[in-house]
Symmetry: C2
Subunit: 409 residues, 2 copies
Amino acid sequence: MALIVQKYGGTSVGSPERIKNVALRVAKWKKLGHQLVIVVSAMSGETNRLVALSKEVQANPDPRELDVVLSTGEQVTIGLLAMALKDIGVEAKSYTGGQVKVLTDSAFTKARILDIDEAAMRADLEAGAVVVVAGFQGVDEAGNITTLGRGGSDTTGVALAAALKADECQIYTDVDGVYTTDPRIVPEARRLDTITFEEMLEMASLGSKVLQIRSVEFAGKYKVKLRVLSSLGDPREEEGPGTLITLEEPNSMEQPIISGIAFSRDEAKLTVLGVPDKPGIAYQILGPIAEANVDVDMIIQNVGSDGSTDFSFTVGRGDYAKALAILEKVKDSIKARGITADNKICKVSAVGVGMRSHPGIASQMFRSLAEEGINIQMISTSEIKISVVVDEKYLELAVRVLHKAFGLD
Amino acid sequence: MALIVQKYGGTSVGSPERIKNVALRVAKWKKLGHQLVIVVSAMSGETNRLVALSKEVQANPDPRELDVVLSTGEQVTIGLLAMALKDIGVEAKSYTGGQVKVLTDSAFTKARILDIDEAAMRADLEAGAVVVVAGFQGVDEAGNITTLGRGGSDTTGVALAAALKADECQIYTDVDGVYTTDPRIVPEARRLDTITFEEMLEMASLGSKVLQIRSVEFAGKYKVKLRVLSSLGDPREEEGPGTLITLEEPNSMEQPIISGIAFSRDEAKLTVLGVPDKPGIAYQILGPIAEANVDVDMIIQNVGSDGSTDFSFTVGRGDYAKALAILEKVKDSIKARGITADNKICKVSAVGVGMRSHPGIASQMFRSLAEEGINIQMISTSEIKISVVVDEKYLELAVRVLHKAFGLD
C-alpha cells in the first residue's frame, strides 16, 4: 500500500463526463489498496472566463479580489469530483486550499507555499477516504485567499506529496510521458522511462511544456518522486508506466548520453554592432531591456579585435519590436556602429546528464548540423545542455538530424 | 453617521454592468458618511447553473459537496463588487462566509446561523473600508462550507445587521417597496411607508415575494430595522424611502386598518365528503399527504350533523394530482362517501394589524365580495388576516374590490 498524490489538469476535468472518468481512474487505484490525495485544476476554460469577467469590472483587477474570484474555479471541481467518487461508492471529501490549510505568503496571484497542515487529510486517509484538494490556491497568515499563479496546481500536488511524504506524485496530462522530442516532428520519438530533474528542467524551459518548471524545481528540492502519466486512456484499464522524474542519475552504461532534443520556436535575435569593448557595456545595453520587462534568453559577446565588439541576445518573438525600439534609442549613447535583428530564428537544444562524462558532444552536434548545411548563428552551453540558434526554416530538419545523430530514434 | 447593511440580490448583480451600478450606489451612501456592509447573492442564473452541473455528475448531489460548489457563486460576486468599488476609488474588502466567520450548524444546503464573528469586519469599517460579504453561506464548527438554502442572502444580511447592531438593514430588490397589493392588478396600489413584521410575514407567505419569510422572522426576533428599496433607478441620484418594516404598530388614528391585499394563484382545493366525524380522522387524511411531502395550506372541517363531516384543504397546484391520487387510495379505509377536487381556485387575503382593534372587518370583506357576486368557497382567519378561497376567474376582481373597499386606493 502506497500513499499517492495525483494531479489532474483542466482538460482532464473539463466536463462532467471527464470528471466521472477521473473518478473511475481514482477508484481503480483505490481498489489496489492505495491511499489517495487528488489535486485538481479548474475545469478548462473556467479560469479564463473568470479573468475576463474580472477585467470587465476592473481593467486591472485588484490582486486580492482577483484571487477570491479565481479560486472558485478549483473549488467547483473539488466538489464535483467528490460527488462523482461518492456516486460510484468511493468515500471522498473535498478541501479548498484554505481548508487544508495550504499556508502561503501574501503575494496575491503569485503566492509561494510556506507550509501545509496535513493533519486533517491524514485523518481522512486513515479513515479510508479519498482526499480531493483544490490546486492553485492557499491562504495567507491573515486568512486571505491566495493563488499560486498559472500552473500552480502542479505545485500544489508536489507540495502535498512533500508534506505527506507520499510515495509518488503523479501528474496526469494529455501525453503518456516525456518524449525524446516532439513526436509531431520526429515520428521516431520515444517515451523516456526516466529522466532526471535537471534534464526535465532544461527540457521544460526549452518548450517541452509537460510540467510547470516551478513544480519540477519544487519536487527536486523536496525529493518528491514525480511521474507523468496520461489521463486519456480507458480509466478502468491498467496504465502504462509514464515517465518517472528522478533524482538519481541513470547508469551511464545503459542510458544514452543525450536524453532528448528540445526546441523553441518564436525566438528573435538582436545584435548591437561595433560597441566599444569596455566594462559596463553589457549593462548599458541590457539594463533598459530589463526595465521594459523583456525576458532575455541567450546572450553572446565576442572578444573584439579593434577595441570594439558585437553584442547579441535573443528574446521571445512577442518582445521583438519592443526590444528593437529600445536598442535604436540607446544606440547613439553607447556609440554602436549599428544594429541588426532577425525575428525568424529558433533554438534547438540537446539535453542530457550523460554529457558531463562524455566530452565531444558539442562537436558531434555541430558536425551533424553542418552535414545538412544548417548554419549555426549562436551557441550557448550549460553543464547538461547545448543550444544552438538557427534559421527558423531549419527547425524540423535540425531536430530530426540531432534526434537520429544521438541515437534517440 | 450610521452603520448600514445593504443586501443586493442576484438580479442586481447579474452582470459586470450591474455590479458597477451597485458600486456607484454604495459609493453614494459612503459619501454621506455611513459605514457600509454589503451582502451579495450569486449573479442571477449562476446558482441554477451550478446545481445543474452538480446533477450531471451525481443525480442526487451529496449535500456537503453541493455546498462547496454552490458557495462559489457568491464568492465570485464579492470579488467582483470589491473590484468595482476600488475601481471608483472606494476602499473595499471582500469576505466569504468562512472568512467572516458566519458560524452555522452542519445541516448542509439548509444550515442555520449560530453565531457571527464581527471583529474583523468592525476593524475594516473603522479603517474606512466598505465590507463586502458573501450571502447564503457559512462554515460549521469543523470548518465545512455550508449554505443557508434559497433566499439565504436576505438572512445573512439580517444576521450581520443583528451582530453588528446596525442602524438598518436595507434589502435592495426590483421593486421600490411593499405595496398595498400588486400594481399589475390594481393600478391604484400604493407603496407603504411602513409595515409591521407580522403583516409582512402574512403578506410574504401569501405571495408578495419581496422578502424571504425566514429573514423577516429573523429581523423581528433580533429587532433589526428592515427596509425594502429598489436597485433599479439611477444609482447616483437620491433614493426614495422604500418601505420600512418595523416592530412598532402604527398609530391607528393615522393608519388604515388593512395594510394590504395579498393573493395567491396556483392553488388547488380537495374535499373528502362524508367521513365519520370522530377523533383521528384529520390525521388519517393528512398523514399520507404529509408523508408525500405535499405542503397543505388551509384546512377546513365543518361540524357534522349526521355523524359524518366534510373535510377540505388546499395545496399548491403543482401537488394537486399527487394529493388527489393519495386521497383516492385512502378513501375506502376512512369510509369516505366521495372526493371532490378543484384546481382552478385562488386565495385572496386582507392583512392588517389594525384588525385586532376593529371588529367587523370580516363581514365588511364578505359583503364587498357578495356585492360583486363572488362566491366564497373557504374562509380562514388569523389575528391579523382574513383569507378567502374563490374561483380563479374572480382573482383580479376580488383584489380590486377589496383594495377599494378598505380604502387603499
